[in-house]
Point group: C2
Chain length 414, copies 2
């Protein structure tokens, strides 16, 4: 018989290990000032609204529905609320275009499962959201680089690159979708302008592929004007959502609370129908009680909660940017996000942020996420991500000077 | 460019459409007496215990943790509670052997993802749980028939059958696991005896494969003695859980409430580690708040709730079996489950339960699930599943005579 090692040498072995998460496990010591975790500030959770929602649900006539099985596409009143919210974004649609996911991470996993066979190509920005790479990696794609702000490869060049990876007689290799976070991206904090979004749609049309628009941070704009969502631009040019090629992944995690795991996909009905089959097979449905609670809380406090987060996170971004300006040495640059949760720092090319992290944690008691993990090819070693959602005054006034001192030392030693 | 139909012709198209669910959508009319849905009786949900749990969580110091992200393996106190529960079942383990899933359906999906590549073989009983076939189908296996009560193919014959399906030079084909519901199975209600369980372990050892033990109904025994779980037998023969080949899928859906989507897998740590990677990539974690609520409710009412369900469902099973005995014509037989939720009815071979269902709904206003859907090869057309969890006195005294009259008519017409 096979031994157990062979028995359990299965598909997951071929997945990329999440080294970065291992590193971050070391950072739980209380005296560490962490700019690492991309998590919302729990002090800002609308706790009372959730307490009221769960109490109403479990005390009233809705209790049985909250505790019972639910349809796979999701709780209809929540889908109707989301259709109106998408309408406010310029996407005319109805609840049949809305599919509830267990967080937007599940949306990315299902879209990977739907589109990718081993060896297919996914176009992604460099760097890109690590969780998207983890979701897609399970389906064993190759990656090509998407540079929507300018300098994309021609459609013909993307086709040639995909074709070149096929072995004789093998199927697959074709590009299947372009994935991007157009607003206040994780990890860079940058926002793609309208021309860049139109360019992505042009490229997708030429290649005949879908666009996955990850809009997890979209509502968190502190300054400047909204840029239309890619799905809204797609609907305008294609004649409506049923003809669109863009699949919009939204999330309540950053605005209301991540612990309930409620997100959504807004897409043509043909795609929603396929996602429903994946959901029936995958986990039947997202928890009924959480979908109903999110619906109640969204109806009552969503707008006010968005404003509250913008004020709090906007002030923290300002403080972080001011501290970087005051303390970082020449040769270090960073993004100036108009919203979201992250600032992206580029160190001189001779520096390695992963090596710097080890020293930062050990000596300076400061943590961040090294940037290489966000690059499918492991480049970007001289970059790092700072999250400002938990960056209070102490974190900024003590943590950034300590980090800057380390960077100076590293530059001097390089 | 490709048209949208081509663009969206993706992997989900190759999944088996869930025809049976389409049929069941027709059955929502209130005057229908339904034995179809495999759902718990909502009148028996421990609603007050859940109301208390959510109120405590959101009113107290635990609120931030309940609303925040959680580790992928699941809430540690719940895993510790489950390790003790598995210990009572004869499986010595600790929380490192427990992995929290979003319902046991997600456990089946993840195990399919972990083990199956297209063309691999899964051994399943005929009939088997429809949701397991849907979960596994996404990974495109072939199925071979497992007959644990006796008459299994020899290991050599299974190997030959798998090998015969490979095309020249193709990899894959090997059997990867045996899947079964040993206690009060969905759909048959039958329980596999100890010798049958040992036989499955013998076969799995010969083939060098895993065993997936779906224990969704195990706690719901109304009469007779518990048969040791396959995992417990495996631990006894292999020397402990780390050397076991059995992966135990449990669920709170049938005892506490399905709407929270909380289940678990108990397995060797090597498997739990791989499942954690799938979970990180798939949906990050199951909802924090629901895991914490389930833990509180399990700590306070689990044992009492099991007793309450046994009494209620046991009485409904008795009434259903008595009505079948009183009304069904000769040539019809059925299982006599010692627990669970289902009775399995076998009609004369000339009858087609799917055709009977259409007539039953239209004329007799009675619904059930035709048995063919539970067979990977579409056999079993003369079988059907009756659920007794919602079968109150009216359902049994009116519904079964109506159904029996239809069967008589069909036998006469055949």
């Amino acid at each position: 018989m096979m031994n157990l090692t062979d028995l359990f040498a299965t598909r997951a072995d071929r997945m990329r290990a999440s080294e970065i998460r291992e590193l971050l496990k070391l950072l739980d010591q209380p005296d560490i000032i962490s700019f690492a975790g991309g998590i919302p500030d729990p002090a800002l959770f609308p706790r009372e609204a959730f307490a009221d929602a769960y109490a109403d649900l479990l005390g009233g006539a809705g209790a049985n529905a909250a505790l019972q099985y639910q349809v796979s596409e999701g709780y209809r009143p929540l889908r109707t609320w989301l259709a109106a919210e998408m309408g406010r974004m310029g996407v005319a649609c109805d609840e049949g275009n809305l599919f509830i996911t267990s967080g937007s991470q599940q949306g990315l996993d299902y879209l990977g499962k739907l589109f990718l066979s081993p060896g297919d190509t996914a176009l992604v920005t460099w760097p890109t959201y690590l969780g998207a790479l983890q979701a897609f990696n399970a389906y064993e794609p190759r990656y090509d680089r998407l540079t929507p702000a300018g300098g994309n490869m021609t459609p013909a060049a993307y086709r040639d690159a995909a074709r070149a990876t096929k072995s004789d007689g093998a199927t697959g290799g074709e590009a299947k979708f372009a994935y991007l976070v157009p607003d206040f991206a994780n990890p860079t904090g940058e926002t793609l302008d309208r021309a860049g979004r139109e360019g992505v749609l042009d490229l997708a049309a030429d290649l005949g592929i879908a666009v996955i628009e990850d809009a997890a941070y979209r509502s968190l704009r502190f300054e400047g004007e909204d840029v239309p969502s890619i799905l809204a631009l797609d609907c305008a040019r294609s004649g409506g959502i049923e003809k669109a090629r863009t699949l919009f992944c939204g999330s309540f995690s950053k605005i209301l609370a991540p612990g309930l795991r409620v997100g959504w996909i807004c897409a043509p009905r043909a795609i929603v129908d396929k996602l429903v089959l994946l959901k029936q097979a995958g986990d039947l449905h997202s928890p009924s009680i959480n979908q109903m609670a999110i619906h109640r809380v969204a109806e009552t406090v969503y707008g006010a909660q968005v404003e509250r987060l913008k004020a709090a996170y906007g002030a923290r971004r300002d403080a972080l940017l001011a501290a970087l300006e005051a303390h970082m040495p020449q040769g270090v640059s960073w993004s100036r996000p108009e919203g979201g949760m992250f600032v992206w720092v580029t160190l001189p090319e001779t520096l390695d942020a992963a090596a710097l992290l080890a020293e930062a944690v050990r000596e300076a008691r400061v943590a961040f996420v090294p940037g290489a993990a966000f690059h499918p090819d492991g480049t970007g070693r001289n970059t790092l991500r700072l999250s400002f959602t938990l960056a209070d005054e102490r974190a900024v006034t003590q943590g950034i000077p300590r980090l800057a001192a380390l960077v100076r030392k590293a530059i001097a030693a390089a």
